[in-house]
């Protein structure tokens, strides 16, 4: 690392070229804040500006595809296909979040006087996710994670006059602050053990020198506390049911796809790079078995607890805990096949979960409730919306011909042929998916086979835009389920992660 100032400035100047998408997002953030101050009518202009900004950032991200794998900014920031894949995912999730916010009555003019800041904070959150996916230094990981976290606390409590939303934000910030505190303490121990904060240097040090195993295990467990909270896996999941239920639904959708994907991106990079297998095949800290345990408990608890929920958002929260378990299965294989499956599944999960939450928003706009018992008779009253929800739930269960099936199939096949422990985990994964069928299908059961209590049958379809967006997500869910090769290939080509250099 250079020590004199001119050299550092030179390095930073060179690195700026690799930072264009992030600069563009920062500029978008500032633009939205400014527009929020000068405009009178913001409900259409600001989301449109955000969408255009996301498209422009997408173009800059696309240009990064041909860039060489390299570290920038004094080894803080990496640009590699792995990061670029996740950047596209975050942009997609962010754009969908903007679109579904526009249609939400919860965040409509009646409840929220000023919506401009909402979009600004959302953009800041996307920026934080970008940094999370490409952080190669523990300091940068911490900063990026906090940027995402603090933005998400604000978004969760955005309906500050509502009791549920305020309560959700309090619970979120308390759990979040504690887990990030644990994570920093763990990082400080790792720094003490190795004298390095860069994850590649840590890996080099760990494989070259003897480090105290107990301390390293303790530190890695503490770091896992921070990551586990972001991905919502057991035992760091306590916040998610309450936050998912209380937050405005578009925020819930974005949290469940965006922050989870960002958490996984960072988790994979940290554990695969910083604590690699030694030449003997042994890990300095046995994170594979540890993840196996977390994944197992997450799958069981998520799926079984969801059975008792009658609030759809809460049910989807437990289902997202279960999905964190499935995704961890792909991580703990620790080979390219598993990582590729995780990336594919995260993309699939984004489409189907945003879709499901979007339909929940559309239904709540009409009937004003998230309770599954109030969904009775909706099959007749909102035929297209009900059909879309059914498709998303089929996909979340993991049945063909949807993208969820392909994702689960890829994860479970990655586990095959790696030994009995992995095989058992795959079998448990399949069995718990069967359990999930039960609670997911409570919703279509209520919509199609039960009459609503007051016997109302008047149709109440949403706007043409809403129907078009729901149909678009439904087509994506089925389309990627039938023609999954391009997405799978993109994931496969993106697995290349900057390994030891």
């Amino acid at each position: 690392m250079p020590n004199n100032l001119p050299e550092i400035i030179e390095q930073v100047k060179l690195s700026l070229g690799a930072f264009v998408p992030e600069i563009s997002l920062s500029a978008l953030f500032l633009l939205v804040i400014t527009l929020d101050m000068v405009l009178n009518e913001k409900r259409v202009v600001i989301p449109m500006v955000s969408l255009v900004g996301f498209v422009i950032t997408g173009f800059f991200t696309w240009q990064q595809l041909d860039m060489p794998n390299q570290e920038y900014f004094l080894r803080m920031h990496v640009v590699d296909p792995f990061a670029v894949f996740f950047k596209f995912l975050f942009l997609g999730a962010g754009a969908l979040a903007v679109l579904i916010t526009m249609d939400s009555e919860e965040l409509g003019e009646k409840n929220v006087a000023n919506i401009g800041e909402y979009y600004a904070v959302l953009i800041a959150m996307v920026l934080g996710m970008f940094l999370m996916a490409s952080a190669s230094d523990m300091l940068m990981m911490f900063l990026a994670l906090e940027l995402v976290s603090i933005s998400s606390y604000i978004l969760t409590g955005y309906l500050k006059h509502q009791i549920k939303s305020s309560e959700a934000s309090l619970k979120y910030i308390i759990y979040g602050a504690v887990s990030s505190g644990l994570m920093v303490y763990g990082m400080s121990l790792i720094y003490g053990l190795t004298g390095q904060t860069n994850i590649y240097e840590i890996a080099k040090f760990i494989s070259a020198n003897e480090v105290d195993e107990v301390t390293l295990t303790l530190a890695a467990l503490l770091v896992m506390g921070g990551f586990g909270y972001k991905i919502g896996a057991v035992p760091f999941h306590f916040w998610s049911p309450d936050v998912y239920e209380g937050a405005p639904t578009p925020v819930t959708a974005f949290l469940s796809v965006g922050s989870k994907a960002a958490g996984f991106a960072m988790l994979i990079r940290f554990f695969k790079v910083a604590i690699p297998a030694e030449p003997t095949g042994e890990l300095a800290f046995d994170w594979v078995n540890f993840f196996a345990l977390i994944a197992l408990v997450s799958m069981l608890l998520g799926n079984f607890a969801a059975i008792w929920q009658s609030n759809v958002k809460r049910m989807l929260a437990y289902s997202s805990i279960a999905h964190a378990g499935y995704l961890l299965l792909g991580v703990l294989v620790a080979d390219d096949l598993g990582t590729q499956a995780v990336m594919f599944y995260l993309a699939a999960y984004t489409v189907m979960t945003v879709g499901a939450f979007y339909v929940v928003i559309l239904i709540a706009n009409k009937i004003g409730s998230d309770d599954v018992n109030d969904y009775r008779g909706l099959g007749k009253r909102m035929p297209l919306t009900a059909a879309a929800l059914t498709v998303f739930l089929v996909s979340l269960t993991g049945l063909p011909p949807t993208v969820g099936f392909i994702g689960k199939y890829m994860i479970f096949t990655a586990l095959l042929g790696k030994g009995t422990v992995f095989l058992t985990l795959a079998i448990i994964g399949v069995l718990t998916s069967a359990v999930s069928l039960y609670y997911y299908f409570k919703i279509p059961l209520n919509m199609y086979l039960r009459e609503s209590e007051d016997g109302a049958e008047t149709p109440m379809e949403s706007s043409a835009f809403a129907n078009a967006l729901a149909a678009f997500l439904m087509i994506l869910t089925i389309g990627f389920g039938l023609f999954f090769t391009p997405l799978a290939n993109f994931a496969k080509n993106s697995v290349i992660m900057l390994v030891m250099n």
């Binding site: 409590g157 305020s166 309560e167 505190g181 920093v184 400080s188 309450d242």
Partner: protein
């Protein structure tokens, strides 16, 4: 008088960490819980600075400076949320702020 070495710092930071964790787990006042979080963050900062002093690299000091700034940012948002909670619930006792569990 023995010289103050690395272990003294580490023990102090471990005590701070444990106190913070203990406070978070036992206290029911949201503000006191947030104070526990600050203790944990400061334990980490102390660790970082001590390690930095004893192994001669500067990255620990840099890390701890960012840590202090982030702790302040987090506390600002957290206190705003707690204020809002007080306006809604007329209490900051986390045991009583529990409307969603079924």
């Amino acid at each position: 008088m023995p010289e103050i070495g690395l272990n003294h710092f580490l023990v102090l930071s471990a005590i701070l960490f444990s106190l913070g964790l203990f406070g978070i787990m036992t206290r029911r006042n949201a503000v006191v819980v947030l104070m526990g979080v600050e203790l944990i963050l400061n334990a980490a900062n102390l660790n970082l600075v001590a390690f930095s002093k004893f192994n001669g690299t500067m990255s620990g000091v840099m890390f701890s400076m960012f840590g202090i700034i982030l702790a302040a940012a987090e506390a600002a948002v957290a206190l705003a949320i707690v204020l809002n909670i007080y306006a809604r619930f007329k209490t900051v006792d986390i045991g009583e702020i529990d409307t969603m569990r079924e």
